[in-house]
């Protein structure tokens, strides 16, 4: 079966799994599982934003958390000032997007590329971290929202049905919303990548100079890609602020920004489903490692009840054993199996043909 057919089959599969997951989970899973899944869905959107920017746009962004955090803070601050969530939601997408556009213009039209992009984006998110982290004093507030510094902003009001303050979206509502948003994002990006634009940005990733000599302006294409990524990350941030009703500066921190990159690498760059899998996998892992810890001070407990230690070992092993990332490797495996089967069939046929011949 040819690439196109396989592609469509894949899409259909993802859609089917996604939808059934969306519909069935709340009916069969415990509420706490549903709540955990909600945050995984939200983070998966964040992972997708980097999957686009880095995996397809070839822009190594070490500061995707900057847009994520901006989205969360924007929503929180706007929410305390407006009280009705429609505008805050839009702002939480528009502001990070605008910021990404600004930063992107600054970088791409300055011909900054490669690891230097990484450093600038990292630096930006660290600046945000330091600044927001030092706003604990009462003098730091935007409208009626106190920034809260290290403590962050607790008790953020949840989203409501547009236009109707009273109809607040409850916990299960959040699950439906986040999962639907993730699916929408996934298919939206699939469409984008299948479009002229998508094929061009991949071309630019493959060979920027050639694309230029064909008359494409890489700077413009990168800028747009980066901006879309920023918008998505901001949206994820808004949902995140809703999920925990809370946001704090650590959202801009080094750990957070590194995590997003880890998700994408683990899942596999240059795919969309990969980063989703990677994100959920890593998140689930660190939650699982933190839960039901043995308590005590003897040496073995110290080693076994030690989330970073174990997570670290797993990550290292992963790089060495699954270098291409989860999804691509599974893909290769599938291919190999198919070919193996094909061979067996072929050899199986030979004698029979001989008889007929």
């Amino acid at each position: 079966m040819n690439a196109r057919a396989r592609n469509l089959l894949g899409l259909a599969l993802v859609g089917l799994v996604g939808l059934s997951f969306l519909i069935l989970t709340p009916r069969f899973a415990e509420l706490d599982t549903v709540l955990d899944l909600t945050v995984y869905m939200i983070m998966a959107i964040l992972a997708l934003s980097l999957a686009l920017v880095w995996g397809y746009g070839g822009i190594l962004c070490f500061g995707q958390s900057a847009f994520f955090g901006l989205g969360a803070y924007t929503y929180a601050i706007a929410m305390f000032n407006f009280g009705e969530s429609t505008i805050p939601l839009l702002l939480a997408i528009a502001l990070p997007a605008a910021f990404a556009a600004l930063l992107g213009y600054f970088m791409f039209y300055g011909r900054i590329s490669d690891v230097y992009l990484g450093v600038i984006t990292l630096t930006v998110t660290l600046i945000l971290f330091n600044s927001v982290n030092s706003t604990a004093g009462p003098e730091f507030h935007i409208g009626s929202a106190r920034l809260g510094g290290f403590n962050g902003i607790p008790g953020i009001p949840p989203l409501n049905v547009p236009g109707n303050k009273a109809a607040v979206i409850d916990l299960e509502g959040m699950f439906y919303l986040s999962t639907a948003a993730l699916l929408a994002t996934y298919f939206g990006l699939r469409l984008l990548l299948a479009s002229r634009f998508g094929r061009i940005i991949v071309g630019i990733r493959e060979n920027e100079r050639r694309a230029e000599l064909l008359g494409y302006d890489p700077r413009a294409y990168k800028l747009v890609t980066f901006t879309i990524g920023g918008a998505l990350a901001g949206f994820a941030g808004c949902l995140f602020a809703n999920w925990g009703n809370f946001v704090s500066p650590t959202i801009f921190g080094l750990a957070q920004s590194a995590q997003i990159i880890i998700w994408v690498i683990v899942g596999g760059r240059g795919t969309l489903i990969g980063p989703i899998v990677g994100c959920i996998g890593v998140q689930w892992l660190s939650a699982a490692l933190g839960a039901n810890q043995p308590s005590g001070s003897d040496w073995w407990t110290r080693v076994l009840a030690n989330a970073p230690l174990i997570l670290g070992i797993i990550l290292i092993a992963f790089v060495l054993l699954v270098p291409k990332g989860l999804v691509p490797t599974l893909g290769d495996l599938g291919q190999w199996l198919l070919r193996a089967r094909a061979r067996r069939v072929a050899t199986g046929l030979k004698p029979k043909q001989a008889e007929e011949g």
Binding site: V115, Y116, L126, S134, R302, L309
Partner: protein, 288 residues
């Protein structure tokens, strides 16, 4: 007047410590294009080694200047042989691996040392500048930075190892051309880088203290310094440290440590925007 003098010392100290924490990374990144996210943990390990050594009655000076670099250097070589060497030319994967490594090292140190570790206090008392007292140890750190940088210069400039190193920086096959097997060069390089980080960590331990998660405080800053410096290991590190250190300290003194930090980061951004190849990408190209 005395305030100026004091400020001057603090600026030089800031530059020195920035150079110290960065130079190890500069070598590893500059020569091997490995983004070592566990760099901070190498510094942290340096501190712990120094503490343990002094705990076992080793003179604090030996512990900081000899034991720490040697031990961390060995750890570096082990890491290179067991992990990094499989990842050359895969800069991104080295990021994931070293991030994992950094978590692992943090976890391990916590498991071994617990989270309450008796530190070492700064030797060499304090001295008076006009109305102010300041730590004599500050001057020691500055001195160490000078010696380390001077040493690197000497090695790069006058030894065969240095020649090979510069060669490898120009292009990786160069080393092979010079009749050395690159794996050896890489192992050595990584070891040296780690050792220098260990030294820095140990020397700074009495000032900033030692706890398993201190690495985070270092890694971003040193990475930014290295990239800001650009291709040339030595001139790059020195010039970037000088720029960032000065701005950071003056801003800190004029306002608060936060603004100092932010000023440093902002400078880094502007710098890279103006000189996309880092300082040495544009100036002192002939630098080492």
């Amino acid at each position: 007047m005395d305030l100026i003098a004091l400020l001057a010392i603090q600026v030089i100290y800031a530059i020195a410590s920035l150079a110290l924490i960065s130079v190890g990374l500069a070598i590893i990144f500059g020569m091997m294009r490995v983004i070592n996210l566990a760099h901070g943990e190498f510094l942290m390990l340096g501190g712990y080694v120094a503490i343990v050594a002094t705990g076992h009655g080793v003179s604090i000076w030996i512990a900081m200047l000899v034991v720490a670099p040697v031990v961390v250097g060995i750890i570096g070589v082990i890491v290179e042989r067991t992990i990094i060497r499989f990842l050359y030319g895969r800069m991104v994967d080295t990021m994931l691996a070293t991030w994992g490594l950094s978590l692992f090292l943090v976890g391990l140190t916590t498991a071994v040392f617990g989270n309450t570790t008796v530190g070492i206090s700064a030797p060499l008392g304090s001295f008076q500048i006009g109305a102010y007292r300041t730590s004599g140890y500050t001057l020691f750190v500055i001195a160490v930075a000078f010696v380390v940088l001077g040493g690197i210069f000497a090695v790069l400039r006058w030894t065969r190892l240095g020649l090979i190193a510069r060669g490898t920086m120009q292009n990786a096959n160069m080393a092979a051309a010079l009749g050395v097997n690159p794996p050896r060069v890489y192992a050595v390089t990584f070891g040296v880088g780690a050792a220098l980080s260990g030294l820095a960590g140990a020397v700074l331990a009495p000032v900033s203290g030692v706890f398993p998660t201190i690495g985070v405080a270092y890694v971003a800053k040193s990475f930014i310094t290295v990239i800001g410096g650009g291709a040339a290991i030595l001139t790059g590190t020195v010039s970037a440290s000088a720029l960032f250190g000065t701005i950071n300290q003056i801003a800190t003194f004029a306002t608060t440590p936060v603004f100092g930090e932010v000023a440093l980061l902002a400078t880094a951004i502007v710098l890279i925007r103006l000189l996309p190849q880092g300082i040495t990408g544009r100036f002192f190209r002939r630098g080492l």
